[in-house]
Symmetry: D2
């Protein structure tokens, strides 16, 4: 019998201006996703995306980078599989679509647009709080009155990854 | 000599649950855009999009609907030019790209994602306040710390359209 | 009662290396589309796209350019409504989707990819013969064994435009 | 030092109507890609895509399916990583973009559109001959007069995969 596909978990967050503490948290998130057998999906660029991919690779995990540009070589050095879309910010739709759950760390406008699309497509969204940005602002609430999915707050990398796997497991029952 | 292209102004806002007052405001926005010689760009569906297109047509204006689905016939009856993208929510990137300025009326998650993309691509964004939704929440602020463009508040349909044309005119100087 | 939307007719063909005769034919196609009340849809760039748009404007017609890049200003000077997609060649799907019928003039690989997408989405495709390129090679045949739509040969600009309108009219019955 | 990313090789070809001999050839192509350490990229659906993924998995390889629809679960059972794009046929651009080389087996209009995009983006294209379809028709030629990349004929699964890896190796020198 064919084994089920491994969970694909997206980590989204800012490219630039991430401080050391936040990057270290992103790396931990990536590591824990790999430890638990998940595949890391991200935007393939720097900052939080690179830190999360670095963490996943430190545990021998698998990493996917979905890029806005045409060139595979723009993926960071921790990306195993580079998927260039050539569609600029429209790739922000493909990242949540490719995810069974999304973990948001801080993040500016790009992250917010990905949270919106994850919400529209009813993906579980976990927001790591304590680091500012849109994940902090939206944690615990719905993005709009349609109340499609609540943004679930997590207070540590461990809690964020545990929540992601728990929700994915429950969705299979 | 070839005349310059007419200004293309996007009106974004909720599809469902728009009350009569808001729809009437959207219709006024559409009408004023047409009066001033602008082309109305919108998502082509119902609610605010339909009301704005109806307003523009009442003044003999031109209306463009950029649709998420494959089928041209899903455009509302006030759309002159239907552009189906077949790309679901990724069409939310094309609407601001096609606009010289964006006017946001209330709006839920779809509108927020369009405001994000308008912001990323540095389009002037005018938010009509007084009707709740994301345009109200973000009016007067920047979406993130990059401070690319400030969301400009407007307190009436007239002010919103005047601001849009004024900003477009100034950008040409 | 609301009038029906005007027919949207896409003209596709090479950007570069179009000779004078071919450009003159493209201009005639654009002119005739406008004369008969159609809206010209094209890729918004140079060569055949520019010639067709020029022809349509000479008759006071309306022209739409669906661009691969982010910047509206890349549209040629005869485009009334510029729709930048920021999706590179993926915009080749939107052009046939926006069309009630597609007229192909000569054309290289870009045109071929648009003919493929028009075929997949079962749009009427008219190929102007006598100028080489993929429209010549495929005229009178089906692109694959699924036989979705036959590529209809036309031997002049007049015949191409007449066929396009005739097929659109018949599809409404 | 970080190891270089593994080569990503796209296998494209018809979904339906593939006969047993062709499916067996596709399976062999997938198996050989995995044996040589490549990652298989495909459209994630049935027919040749499924056979190639099955072959790759029989050697413990890694398989990526880039889907036209919104739902990850539409990927065939041999796909490890499902990337739903929600962009219908516009996903045909992402498959060649994600590839270091493309191997085309027979194929109808969908395959032809992917060959066009691979050609536009100057990806090495190997066409397995002897099974009809567009890979047969275009083998040994250029798609248009721009002569961007020649479609390289291969007469067996072994030759196709060897050529793909050889070209990728040479491009790194």
């Amino acid at each position: 019998m064919k084994k089920p596909r491994k969970p694909q978990i997206a980590v989204i967050g800012r490219d630039l201006h991430a401080n050391e503490e936040l990057l270290s948290e992103a790396e931990k998130v990536g590591r824990l996703i790999a430890e638990k057998g998940g595949i890391l999906v991200c935007g393939g660029h720097g900052g939080i995306m690179r830190a999360a991919a670095k963490g996943a690779k430190s545990e021998g995990g698998l990493t996917v980078g979905i890029l806005p540009e045409l060139d595979k070589n723009n993926a960071n050095e921790y990306i195993d599989i580079a998927i260039p879309t050539g569609m600029h910010q429209a790739r922000n739709m493909i990242i949540p679509l490719a995810a069974d759950a999304v973990i948001a760390l801080a993040g500016g406008v790009g992250t917010l647009s990905e949270m919106c699309l994850a919400y529209i497509y009813r993906k579980p969204i976990i927001a790591l709080v304590g680091h500012g940005g849109w994940s902090e602002k939206l944690a615990g609430s719905y993005i709009d009155e349609k109340k499609l999915v609540k943004i679930i707050p997590a207070h540590s990398a461990e809690e964020a990854v545990e929540l992601a796997f728990k929700i994915i497991d429950e969705s299979k029952k």
